[in-house]
């Protein structure tokens, strides 16, 4: 009894080992069959390929691929079949081992025509569809799905019988539906099933197919109605996803606006300073990122993935210290004269722009995206690009941090005290000039880190700041001066509104309409969405 059990376990183990061996080291392609390709006429090639495919050995896939691409040769002297790519070493077709010491002149090409290529392609598809590796099967199904050719129907049907993975099974069913709907010979039952499948699949491809199907005049009214209903359902869900996508684009634009405007919300909203050089602080942040990446590229290429993390504090410092110098050097002499401040800071912005242009040149600079910021995620019918997702998250993080600094720290307390009643704050021992200077530096520094984020999606040029300055002012004014939440709501509202107007009016007109809307809105509510109440307003 005991020994029998042991025997069973041993044999089971043996099977497992054998299986794993098979998948790990696929056995070489049958030498004889591969070398047979070198013999015979073009007419005999299909039979030879069939024979190869019948072995169900994945090792013959590269051989067939080479045949299709005209890279399959044989040695003139002994008829050994060789793969000779355009570049790179030659390979023994049967064993897959590299060959050396061979001369191109000793090779003769194995000819193929379109028919042979088609058969070879089908054989490859069949082989990959039956591959033991799930990922390979998936790739094969996806390829057939995209092409949606009627001749692959039989292959798919065969693959469907053997498929065990449930996810791939549904994908197969969808691919079959896609193809059988175009098939004039399909039965009514198959059509019904296909329509149901496509309806659940949704998307542009299914929609186009169903629409083409309803336009056909050789179908029964029952199927026609089912297809029409499916079209309606798909259109409806696509419209819904379209709205979702627009909201996403809007939030993404809003996050950019929020980043650009949040520093302004401090300097303009809290301190009442019109800083026209705010955009240039953003630009300085972006150029800091550029410099950091250049240094990393030339000296420490290994840490490129972390370049943005290194650039963030540096950008904050660079922009913050420029802001600090501006406040100490210029702005403090102009308190109580907001229009003069506006002009002086405009002068600073001109100087900074020209300085950057003189140092780095007037052209756009290339700022690289780290690996983790590229790519995209698909969520239902939504397409979310990674860099936009990161920027949204980053904008919200900066917002939250700023809120904490204002509400929970000693510096924030002093800042609010100075804003509310400067003389009283001074009497309580707060050094108001330093609070002013550091508040301005904070606002500028945040503009600097916004520049790091914007360098990932915008052109880094001396004019970078100019493109954002008016939008940022609009956001702050729309949201309400002196209110961070207003800035958040304002940025997101404007972003979403802009993106919803775009499909109807075009990008430029949408922007104009938003501007006109804000101009009108200010007439109605001169203090913005979330206006400060009380006497402080009149100051």
């Amino acid at each position: 009894m005991y020994s029998k059990l042991l025997q069973l376990v041993a044999s089971a183990l043996l099977v497992v080992v054998a299986l794993s061996f098979q998948s790990a080291h696929a056995e070489p392609a049958p030498q004889q069959l591969v070398n047979a390709l070198a013999t015979g006429k073009l007419k005999q090639k299909p039979a030879q390929i069939e024979a190869l495919a019948a072995t169900k050995n994945p090792a013959i896939i590269p051989v067939l691929q080479a045949l299709i691409e005209g890279e399959l040769f044989y040695l003139k002297n002994d008829g050994q079949v060789v793969i000779a790519p355009q570049s790179g070493p030659m390979i023994d077709a049967a064993t897959g081992k590299p060959l050396s010491g061979l001369n191109k002149s000793s090779l003769k090409k194995i000819k193929a025509n379109n028919k042979v290529r088609r058969i070879a392609r089908a054989a490859i598809a069949k082989l990959t569809l039956q591959s033991p590796v799930l990922a390979e099967r998936q790739a094969a199904v996806e390829a057939l799905f995209k092409a949606a050719k009627p001749e692959s129907l039989s292959l798919l049907l065969e693959a469907q019988k053997n498929e065990t993975d449930p996810q791939l099974q549904t994908r197969l069913a969808q691919a079959i539906a896609l193809i059988s709907l175009q098939d004039k010979a399909a039965t009514a039952k198959a059509q019904q099933a296909a329509i149901a499948q496509l309806r659940s699949l949704g998307g542009q491809q299914a929609l186009a197919l169903l629409q083409a199907f309803t336009a056909r005049d050789d179908i029964a009214p029952q199927e026609k109605e089912a297809a029409t209903r499916a079209v309606e359902a798909i259109e409806k869900s696509m419209a819904l996803w379209g709205i979702g996508q627009n909201v996403w684009y809007g939030l993404s634009l809003g996050s950019v606006l929020l980043l650009a405007a949040i520093g302004l919300a401090i300097t303009f909203g809290v301190m009442g300073i019109i800083n026209m050089a705010h955009g240039e602080m953003v630009m300085l942040g972006a150029y800091t990122t550029f410099v950091v990446q250049e240094v990393i590229r030339s000296s420490f290429p290994g840490v490129f993935e972390y370049s943005l993390a290194i650039a963030l504090p540096l950008a904050f410092l660079v922009a913050g210290s420029v802001g600090f110098a501006m406040e100490r050097g210029i702005i403090r002499f102009l308190y109580g004269r907001p229009l003069e401040t506006l002009l002086a800071t405009w002068g600073v912005s001109l100087v900074l722009q020209q300085a950057v242009r003189s140092i780095f040149g007037p052209t756009n600079k290339q700022v690289g995206n780290p690996e983790w910021m590229s790519g995209a995620y698909e969520l239902g019918g939504l397409m979310l690009t990674a860099n936009r997702l990161w920027i949204l998250a980053f904008a919200l993080l900066v917002f939250a941090l700023l809120l904490v600094v204002l509400r929970r720290t000693r510096f924030g307390l002093q800042m609010r005290a100075v804003t509310q009643n400067r003389r009283m704050a001074a009497s309580m021992g707060i050094r108001t000039p330093w609070v002013d200077a550091f508040t301005f530096a904070l606002g500028s520094g945040i503009a600097g880190i916004a520049g790091v984020a914007l360098s990932q999606i915008a052109n880094v040029s001396p004019n970078l700041g100019q493109t954002y300055i008016i939008d940022s002012f609009m956001v702050v004014v729309f949201g309400g001066v002196g209110n961070l939440w207003g800035t958040l709501v304002g940025a997101m509202t404007l972003g979403v509104a802009n993106k919803f107007l775009e499909p109807y009016a075009g990008a430029v007109l949408a922007k104009i309409l938003t501007l006109v809307f804000i101009i009108l809105f200010i007439q109605k509510r001169p203090r913005g969405l979330f206006a400060q109440k009380g006497r402080a307003v009149e100051a």
Binding site: V508, L515, I522
Partner: protein
């Protein structure tokens, strides 16, 4: 007799400016047309349109001073009114090209043929008439300023808010005029003009006439602004710069005063633009750029806001400097302009004119002190403060 009336009404410096402007309106074209090129007093032909351009800028600065200097409205969108006036004139000049364009269409301007338009858009009707174009030069900027101002002043949008939304206004117009569908030539704007009122724009005599027209127009608008600021209305305007609420409580309709000044100012800016376009030969959406409008503010500030005289000098000075710098040291110009913005706001809040009056006053005070010193015995030197004695 006229001079005496001018003097008594406008004061010495303003009268001098008007006379000087009228004089150069006659003398410069004469020096260009009548004198041979080898004469040292000859004004070269390329200089006349350049100076004419400066005079147009001066008119724009004058217009801004009327609202900024006298009503406290810092408009960052005056370039928009200037450009609108320019476009109105440009449309007339465009229609004058007629069949001489590249595509030789008798009605449609070249860019419309290029865009495959079949007929003239409705807003281009009437621009083949000079009088209509002149009317539009006044009406379009005036109407925009009236509507915009009516909304803004009625809801008491003031200070920096007003500045920002005027900037948004010109930015929105910039974006709008860049669009080809707008029907104003898109990116390229309107150019390739041939003649005005039948006179070729390339001819020296036409350029001289345009220069004279700019100088005379500047003198006229200056006299108008001066008359307004000297009137009772001008007093109210100045009062509301200082204490708007108080003026309102006394019983004046502040909005109406502001609206009047803003609309008139926009019209003057429109005239400036209309004279500018035939002299430079092009108008494109770049004129709407917010940066241009802010530059106008600095001309006004350099010369001295609230003086009417100052902005004219400021515009001439800064633009002369710009022409020189951008040719000689193109890298340095923006640094110089930026430094000018900072220096003027920090050290010259009243501009050059303010500086001159300040110096005059100090000079007069010193003179009076010296006179007093001569009359009375020199006072004993204060022993405690040795510095004051020097």
């Amino acid at each position: 007799m006229i001079t005496a009336k001018l003097l008594s009404r406008f004061g010495l410096s303003a009268s001098a400016l008007i006379v000087a402007l009228l004089a150069i309106a006659i003398l410069f074209p004469l020096a260009n047309l009548a004198l041979p090129p080898e004469n040292p007093l000859h004004v070269p032909s390329h200089l006349l349109p350049l100076l004419g351009k400066y005079l147009c800028y001066a008119m724009l600065a004058l217009a801004l001073d009327l609202v900024w200097g006298y009503c406290g409205i810092l408009s960052l969108g005056h370039g928009a009114f200037f450009a609108l006036g320019g476009y109105a004139m440009g449309m007339y000049l465009m229609r004058q090209i007629g069949p001489r364009g590249v595509y030789a269409d008798p009605i449609l301007p070249d860019f419309m043929v290029f865009l495959n338009w079949q007929e003239l858009p409705w807003f281009w009707y009437g621009f083949d008439q000079f009088w209509f174009a002149c009317l539009m030069v006044l009406l379009v900027p005036g109407a925009l300023a009236f509507v915009f101002g009516w909304f803004a002043f009625r809801s008491r949008v003031t200070g920096v808010y007003l500045s920002i939304i005027t900037q948004a206004l010109t930015y929105a117009l910039l974006l709008a005029f860049f669009r080809n569908d707008m029907g104003f030539g898109g990116n390229n704007g309107l150019t390739d003009f041939k003649e005005i009122l039948g006179f070729s724009l390339q001819a020296d005599s036409t350029r001289a006439a345009l220069f004279a027209a700019s100088a005379i127009m500047l003198a006229l608008t200056f006299a108008l602004c001066r008359a307004i600021t000297l009137s009772k209305l001008g007093k109210v305007m100045q009062a509301l710069t200082n204490a708007e609420n108080r003026v309102r409580f006394i019983g004046y309709r502040v909005e109406h005063v502001k609206l009047f000044a803003f609309t008139l100012s926009a019209m003057i800016a429109g005239i400036a633009g209309a004279l500018y376009v035939p002299q430079v030969g092009i108008i494109n959406p770049g004129e709407f750029a917010p940066a241009n409008s802010i530059e106008v503010v600095i001309w006004t500030a350099v010369g001295g806001r609230g003086t009417l005289l100052g902005p004219i000098f400021g515009a001439l000075l800064v633009n002369g400097g710009k022409s020189y710098f951008t040719a000689a040291f193109p890298e340095v110009w923006l640094f110089a302009l930026g430094a000018l913005f900072i220096a003027v706001t920090l050290f010259l809040p009243k501009g050059i004119v303010g500086l001159v009056t300040q110096l005059q006053e100090r000079f007069a005070a010193r003179k009076a002190a010296a006179k007093r010193q001569k009359q009375t015995a020199p006072p004993a030197k204060p022993a405690l403060n040795p510095e004051a004695a020097e």
